[in-house]
Subunit: 186 residues, 2 copies
């Protein structure tokens, strides 16, 4: 099975040329898998900022990092990703969004179009040239569909002289599978 999260990880790893000593952001901690991936990728000299509004998500992420002995290189922030600019000053190499709700958690607590677009604008502002922003969106449920449309229109509006934007879908599924948006800054 193609996993859209793995495709996103590959693109991030390629954009970082194997990573090392750079800043990365997990805009949606969730279960912590993206943070763990980024923490490995940036290496001992790098740092990851991870955002989530739910303590449960940050706790799960902290547990994963502890297991992998990677706690030192990650800052967990209990705040929505629309506030990332308050916490980060330097240019970042990668920002990873995995929208929707915490798997196995409270489904009424999910990302929303408004805050996601604010966060995306901040992410692009923080992004260094050559860096990448990836967004996985879930059109399979009603609010996810609205959010997916908002992300699509936002991505489509980005100037092609400054950003390359690709949109990947898995087209032979019966249900509406997650979609991957990737924005690279020139």
């Amino acid at each position: 099975m193609i996993k859209i999260t793995e495709l996103a990880h590959r693109q991030v790893a390629e954009a970082l040329h194997g990573g090392g000593r750079c800043l990365a952001v997990d805009a949606t901690a969730g279960g912590g898998r993206d943070t763990l991936f980024l923490a490995r990728l940036v290496g001992p000299g790098g740092h990851v900022y991870t955002f989530d509004i739910q303590q449960e998500a940050l706790d799960q992420t902290a547990a994963l990092l502890k297991q992998a002995c990677l706690t030192d290189r990650v800052t967990l922030v209990r705040a929505g990703h629309e506030r990332m600019a308050e916490y980060i000053e330097n240019a970042v190499s990668a920002v990873v969004f995995n929208l929707g709700y915490l798997p196995g958690g409270d489904k009424s607590i999910a990302t929303s179009s408004e805050t996601t677009l604010i966060a995306l604008r901040q992410a692009l502002h923080l992004l260094r040239p050559g860096g990448i922003v990836t967004v996985i969106a879930y059109p399979g449920h009603a609010l996810g569909k609205i959010e997916r449309e908002a992300v699509f229109e936002f991505c489509r509006s980005l100037h092609s002289n400054t950003y390359a934007v690709s949109h990947l879908t898995l087209i032979n599924r019966e249900y509406e599978p997650p979609e991957l948006f990737s924005i690279t800054k020139y």
Copy 2:
């Protein structure tokens, strides 16, 4: 700039795990760049079959291969890709399609929906599990748009238990850029 041909090459290289000793097919020789890429990828023990109906395309491809000293591992076939099954018996690891017309050549000679779909069916039949078929389509001109729709519907109809199909578009362009379809066999 993101180049869709480079994205296709990356996917093929990943599917072949660095390649080596396998069979690959360039379904549309064109200027020969895909054949050259595949010839390098399959290595000394592998082989590439390259199809084109135009002698001009095969000549350009032959010249590229000669320059790279890779002539030995490629069979150039002057035939439409809808006849690939007549020439290949063993399972192949990758089949690469770059639709449309020969760059700089006669634009009235282009791939067509009917023969492309026949070729795609043969390609999937020849494909070994784990192998990949990539198709770059050009919806920017009228016939290319029809062909793109045909490929899209064909890809969407493939059974998700047997094939993973991804569709990649570059969404922040003013014109209609090429699109990449990738089919992996489980």
